[in-house]
Amino acid sequence: MEKNKNRVFTVSEWRDRMVEHCEPKLSFSGRTRDDYRNWRRRFKKEFRRLLGLFPDSVPLQSEIIERKVFPTYLREKVVFDSERFMSVPAWVCSPIKSSDTGKHPAVICCHGHGHGKDALGGILSNGKPGVDYQKRLAVELAENGYVAIAPDWRCFGERREPPEHLSHPRDLCDLAHITVESFGYNLLTLDIWDGMKTIDYLESRNDVDHSRIGCVGCSLGGTISMFLSAADQRISAACVSGYLMATGKCSFSGTCGSQTLPGLLALGDRAEVAGLICPRPLLIQIGEYDSTFPACHALKEYERLQHIYRTAGIDDRLGLDRFDGCHEIHLAPILEWFDRWLTERRTDD
């Protein structure tokens, strides 16, 4: 077929052209606090509509099925139910109990692509202790006084399909997306739901201070951290690493079935979703050499997000950490961020 400039034959090119001509209805362009308030009310409603169907709540019936004491932290494996036919396994890393403290701030650590929750607990895919791009975040947080919980998202870790269900080269997230769609669900929404149930579980623990819950993740973990924090007000401080960037700037293969919200681009983009975290503190991390989320594109979306926080009049609650690194968690600023926003009770929200 002869190539004709006016015709488009591939989905990737179609996407590029659609993005160019897309006019999102609720892109934030306000100038005043009132503009922000109005926008927030409208976008929040639309965002809830886009998330679509949530499953019915069921009792958590949580169980601690494993417990191991390390010299600097305690690690438990917990399992709880998130819907009638689905359970969620998670690592909980917590400080070694000292007699003087009762309740700790908590952080939900959202894993990215890889082998699931284990990476956040400092376990490599071969089962040995080690560090990957997520820098054993749950362990580090526990050592710094937090109760850190790292659940497996759908299709990852212990929730991965057995090998006989995998038909390479098809992506498991994409297959799962199609599967849940038949029942009227969106896969990302179901992961957000599991995140909400993770907060329910944290609230059921007597060592967690409910008013001080944070959320963090890199890559797919950044996606879930951002969407979960936008959807659930119980999260009072967040960090999104290696993710914030205009959807249309991602490479064609730079996303997966776990990371899409159908219809989002007709209304806004990632800056608007992250804008729902406002007025709560939000740290954005951008690796200068992250080839999946190039800094030049990430910064543009960050500027749009910054405009939301500025218009709301609280831009000191939006942080930016541009660091000399790639697609990875940058540990030190995350620990500082949560120390700043979660380690003393804040009542001014």
Binding site: L124, S291, D324, H327, A332
Partner: protein
């Protein structure tokens, strides 16, 4: 099917080489003289095993592209490796003219689309990734950098986007092994020719040639520096380890499966050697890297040149730490 003592399939990925372990080449001597003898013997084994192409063909370099930027010049050079096989490389150099000849750094790329990311490009578009544009940034600091495509990568590739996967490289390696060589051997031989090219082009001081490598490129950089004394300073990222075999390499060459990175690094002594260890390296566990360092340092201590071997650990994944690498080459050029 559980039956003791029976194997029902060959575990192809973990092929063990009988009688060959990293330890068999390890330097165990106690003084400079013993080291020299060991080095000569091991280098001889290495050179014999490498099975380089028997005859060198003339390089016949041609500069086919030249672009001038604010503070550096970037050229593309093509040259011959074998009868019927050419290579392509970027050369970057500072724009500012000096009377003294410039130091040079041969840059060996790791996995990815070849040489382009080292100058900040991928498929003609801007691209920043884990090599951190080392080719350009060193040129801005006064070095001539030579960044060739390794076999199977970039313009020297038959694979999609010049970006081979591990399976692609294994196929290419199998092809070369049928011809009596191996992909890694040829990459090393090509690296040696790249130094010949630098000297032939005459842009840099032959006495000041450095070499850097990241991931599988570090294996190439290390091995070629081990056998070619013209390399005067080396920086290796994500390489040194107590494990045997060459990390990140698709090559199934039995010889290289039995040689340890410690052995190869030992051959570089007493020349300046920087070993970069990213703590979250997915290729080489940083713990194993850390354990290997004393073995190398011991050799530099024999020569009383401890300052010529440094390890640098940093909070990173598979990535180069640019600043410590630049400082290293500035210090030793």
């Amino acid at each position: 099917m559980a039956s003791k003592g029976r194997n029902f399939f060959h575990a192809i990925s973990e092929e063990k080489i009988p009688g060959l372990s990293g330890k068999s080449f390890a330097f165990t001597g106690k003084n400079e003289r013993e080291f020299s003898k060991w080095r000569e013997a091991f280098r001889h084994v290495l050179m014999t095993e490498l099975k380089f192409p028997r005859e060198k063909v003339p390089l016949r370099p041609e500069i086919i592209e030249s672009a001038s930027f604010k503070d550096y010049i970037r050229e593309k050079v093509v040259y011959d490796l074998e009868d019927g096989l050419s290579a392509a490389a970027w050369i970057c150099r500072p724009k500012k003219k000096t009377s003294a000849k410039l130091p040079a750094v041969l840059c060996c790329h790791g996995h990815g689309p070849g040489k382009d990311p080292l100058i900040g490009l991928y498929r003609g578009k801007e691209c920043l990734e884990y090599h951190k544009m080392a080719g350009v940034r060193l040129a801005k600091k006064g070095f001539v950098t030579l960044v060739p495509d390794r076999r199977g990568y970039g313009e020297c590739s038959m694979f999609v986007n010049g970006f081979p996967g591990m399976d692609d490289l294994k196929k290419l390696d199998a092809f070369y092994r049928r011809k009596g060589s191996s992909l890694l051997s040829l990459d090393i031989a090509d690296g040696i020719r790249a130094i010949d090219l630098l000297n032939e082009l005459g842009m840099s001081d032959p006495e000041k040639t450095g070499c850097l490598g990241v991931e599988s490129g570090a294996a190439v950089a290390a091995c070629l520096s081990a056998v070619d004394e013209r390399v005067k300073a080396v920086s290796l990222t994500s390489f040194i380890s107590t494990d045997s075999g060459m990390p990140g390499i698709a090559c199934q060459d039995k010889f290289f499966a039995g040689v340890g990175t410690i052995d190869i690094c030992s051959l570089i002594a007493p020349r300046p050697l920087l070993l970069q260890i990213p703590v979250a390296d997915p290729v080489v566990p940083s713990e194993n890297a850390r354990k290997a360092i004393p073995f190398i340092k011991r050799i530099y201590a024999l020569f009383h040149v401890d300052e010529r071997c440094e390890s640098f650990e940093f909070d990173g994944v598979l990535e180069l730490d640019y600043q410590s690498m630049e400082d290293w080459f500035v210090k030793w050029s």
